[in-house]
Subunit: 123 residues, 2 copies
DNA sequence: CGGTATCCTTCTCGATACTG
DNA sequence: CAGTATCGAGAAGGATACCG
């Protein structure tokens, strides 16, 4: 093994890897996946569950996740219009990772904040 | 347990969580961490190992990771100037996660691509 | 070698208004 | 309820030039 990293070991699909992770781990998608892993939710319920997200950003995140096969858009009722979003089996494969990431950030946030203070002070 | 997700269970630090993950899992940082987990590298070596990254973006990613305590900047020689970047113990705590993410993207990329074709066709 | 500074373009994102 | 359309500000990102 001479490779120096997973991505470096295959020049061909490096870009596609990064693109996929970018689309799935972006600002809002992690929180959307976290919510939907627990239960299907409707648009506005999802919006309420994710503080500070705008309608536009949430729509964009949902479309991107839908396109990548992570979530499914189900029309539950036509009049009045009701749409439910639910996680797909493919999306479920990300659940443990999403959980681990959120746990990591919880556990390590204090250390990171101390590191930031050190960095900002010496500058 | 009534909470519907990790982030939703603590409104106070939701923003800080997301900010941290944003800074650590962005476009280039994952690849930087992946590389540095295997061995310390100098600036231009790192640049060569990460295709398509520009000097500016790599510098920005390294500064951000350094500020968050994930990597350490070590001046190995002054003349000629040589700078080595290495992972910190705090950064090491992300290694398994980074590996898992890169593995996940490798395994699931084909399924995702099929999902994209389906989505794009029906539209 | 390992950056910083500047310009300039592109893309993101929020706010707002409107629709089926 | 669940979006789409449009606009404008600001951030991100590449190209280029220069510095210790």
């Amino acid at each position: 093994m001479q490779e120096t990293g997973h991505l470096a070991s295959d020049g061909q699909i490096t870009g596609a890897h990064r693109e996929l992770l970018d689309q799935v781990l972006d600002k809002w998608s992690l929180q959307v996946l976290d919510q939907l892993c627990e239960q299907p939710l409707r648009f506005n319920a999802l919006r309420r569950a994710i503080p500070l997200v705008t309608q536009k950003s949430l729509t964009a995140a949902l479309r991107r996740l839908e396109r990548n096969g992570m979530v499914e858009r189900v029309i539950a009722s036509s009049r009045p219009l009701a749409v439910e979003y639910r996680i797909t089996p493919l999306g479920k494969t990300l659940q443990d990772l999403v959980d681990a990431l959120l746990r990591w950030s919880t556990v390590n946030l204090p250390s990171v904040q101390r590191a930031r203070e050190r960095f900002d002070d010496e500058a």
